[in-house]
Symmetry: C2
Subunit: 441 residues, 2 copies
């Protein structure tokens, strides 16, 4: 006898899991959600949302600096403690809101570690729960580093909760997280190092644009250590001495591990019931189904050939709920997905990169810096597109202060196979990113 029975059980209450839960419930299923840590998951609690609060404040400094010789005078500084309090006010509201949403929708929820007993039964501590279908949406967590002194590194959650930003900091890893955090610390006035084994940063973005971001960060006194491995970290007189593979040494006050993530599924007892998985992900087919037919994996923990992003997780969550309800039967088919690195300026990408264009495709690039939408901020802006023979867009890269908004016009263009003519039929507001992109396409 199990304690509870549901149609659909969801493990992990991040964006993907919650999207699946609400969709399944709206389709008439009985639904349970199990979360072992924070309701809402990484993004709203210690990921994309609080990061944007930190970034927006430091961007205030950068925006003002850009206009310092152009009519806007004065000085701004970051008060880290006040910024933390501001962020905390936002994040403190997340869990109550998420739980309220679940209660309002009539979705049952349990807090604790889920452990599979059979493909249908999961235990949460002493409680046993049976569900016809299970959806695993537990996300990923920081990858443990394996050099001596790795224990001195702080992870991204610790960075976002940092009570004090000390004199000099280092980030190990130059992906989204490292680059975004290094933008925050350097713009806040803290000497910053970025250490990466790669020869560049942000490898899924346009390399010319990445170079420009790196240059902008170097102007803010960021030291990049490319092609570098960390050999060891030693604690010396309250500071951390990092030895790199070229024998050079950096001494900093805080070191952050932003080197990558592994799956958060190790406690689920998946091996015992035979669900195929590795350190990083759970294996799924084109229906997001694991090798056990009633168990699905979605979001960052799913080994799907798609960028691990909030919109992806949402989309997968809704898909899997409809699949379970037999509302659809086709494999998942992703529309164009935009990814953004919230550096300063930011980088955004959708579809194929210019370097991957084939000979039948055309690359179009324009520096918009003199256009009013960018000139007014004295910020450079570059848009690059890959166009098919018929004039439709198949890839886009953006380097700009608000690249996340500009890329959305290209997302829409790809989805709706827009050509110049088709764009000219949409009268976006003037001046706006929309009117600029319409003009450019």
């Amino acid at each position: 006898m199990v304690d509870y029975k549901f149609d659909v059980g969801i493990i992990g209450a991040g964006p993907a899991g919650l999207a699946a839960a609400f969709k399944a419930k709206s389709l008439g299923k009985t639904v349970v959600v199990i979360e072992k840590y924070l309701w809402g998951g990484t993004c709203p609690n210690y990921g994309c949302d609080p990061k944007k609060i930190m970034l927006t404040a430091v961007e205030g400094i950068k925006r003002a600096e850009k206009l310092a010789n152009y009519g806007l005078h004065g000085q701004l500084q970051i008060n880290w403690a006040a910024l933390q309090a501001n962020k905390k006010e936002y994040t403190d509201a997340v869990q109550p809101r998420k739980l309220h949403g679940l209660d309002k929708a009539g979705i049952q929820h349990f807090h604790g570690v889920a452990s599979f007993v059979t493909p249908n039964q999961v235990n949460v501590g002493p409680i046993s729960i049976e569900a016809t279908d299970w959806v695993i949406a537990v996300g990923q967590k920081p990858k443990t580093l394996d050099f001596p002194g790795a224990e001195f590194t702080l992870n991204y959650e610790q960075f976002l909760n940092l009570p004090e930003l000390k004199g000099e900091v280092a980030f190990i890893g130059a992906g989204y997280v490292g680059m975004e955090f290094a933008t925050i610390t350097s713009t806040a006035g803290t000497k910053t190092h970025v250490i990466t084994h790669g020869d560049s940063a942000l490898r899924s973005f346009d390399s010319d644009m990445v170079l420009q971001v790196v240059n902008e960060m170097q102007k803010k006194d960021v030291d990049f250590h490319f092609n570098s491995e960390v050999i060891k970290i030693e604690k010396l007189a309250g500071k951390y001495q990092i030895t790199l593979s070229d024998d050079s040494v950096i001494v900093v006050d805080q070191v952050f591990n932003t080197a990558g993530r592994v799956g958060n599924h190790t406690e689920l007892n998946l091996n015992a019931i035979g669900v195929e998985n590795d350190l990083y992900e759970i294996k799924v087919d084109q229906y997001l189904r694991t090798n056990i037919p009633n168990i699905y994996a979605i979001g960052d923990v799913a080994k799907a050939q798609v960028a691990k992003l909030v919109p992806t997780g949402n989309f997968q969550g809704r898909y899997v709920a409809e699949l379970i309800q037999n509302k659809i039967s086709d494999p998942i088919k992703y529309p164009a997905i935009a990814s953004v690195a919230f550096t300063s300026p930011r980088l955004a990408q959708v579809g194929i990169l210019a370097k991957d264009a084939n000979s039948a495709q055309t690359i179009k690039e324009k520096d918009f810096s003199k256009w009013i939408t960018y000139y007014r901020n004295h910020e450079q802006a570059i848009i690059k597109t890959v166009l098919n023979n018929d004039g439709t867009v198949t890839g886009g890269s953006v380097y700009a202060l608000e690249a996340e908004e500009i890329i959305n016009y290209l997302v829409e263009a790809i989805n709706n196979k827009r050509t110049k003519l088709s764009f000219s039929q949409i009268l976006y507001s003037y001046p706006s990113y929309g009117s600029d992109v319409s003009d450019f396409i």
Copy 2:
């Protein structure tokens, strides 16, 4: 014998006229453009573009103020002279760029006042020019006020070129221009008055949202004088004393006429050749044709039942060029058009207002202020939509820092008859205005 002959003659080199010129040229016509004042017209020289430069600088102050208790400390001020120099650097480049564009495209151009001799012939000073078709795109200009002392008022061009922003200023008129300029002066720290005969401002926008903008401006020490007519202005000891219809008196350093505009077509000798027009506009049919079959009017000077905006003018310009070339034969049909008041926060509108919704339509409203995209700026944001029975959007109003970008998603939604389901198939970047609107619709 005339001096020059062309297929298409265009009078006025603003956005509408230039759109018509480039389109006609691209369709194989020989084209001439005549401009009596600044190449590029109002918008880039003394309208929407330079205004945004001024506004962006003062918004830097407002953005910082909003975060003053939330981690971003310090003080910013406007240096009006530096801001003017910044603006001038932008506007100085406009005319050379426009002329270069015309030359590069092989479009002939003349500077001077155009005067019709016959429906086909126009003289510019001593030069006579014949064209098979003429397109009038001369725009509008400030309306002269008719109370004693009206000569003391400065117009919008003079405001944007103002060498010095003095102690206390007044704007007569609370439309776009008055409200936008009052936002600039008040945020720059200048005591500001807005005088209007209406009982509110910005009457083409959602009245609840207008009220919020008015409240925000009042917090910035703007005095609104509603239901007020100016009786007279007197110059007293270097200041201007304005007497209002309720006998109250305001004493200011500068007074600006932002009360409305009239047509800029009075010098064209239209009455002599029988083109119907009034003080404000030139009468056109659904083909943008005047009562003289080979003469068209487009842009702000055309009496078309559509908002007078840059995107409208561009759209009309392209339409009329295609019509003349016989590429199309249908009456002009406008897509949804977004209008924006660049106040702080801004207001944007597309389609019908909530107050004009019928009983079969639903009004949906949401305060997004706690969502990360707005919370990070500590700026309020409200989106209101009017939905048809089938869930498609038919009207949208936005109150937000960057309302001009948010409204664009609603423009697209109206044009493409999007429903919630259709929106969920577009994976806009997260977090962005796009992902918020997708969630809301």
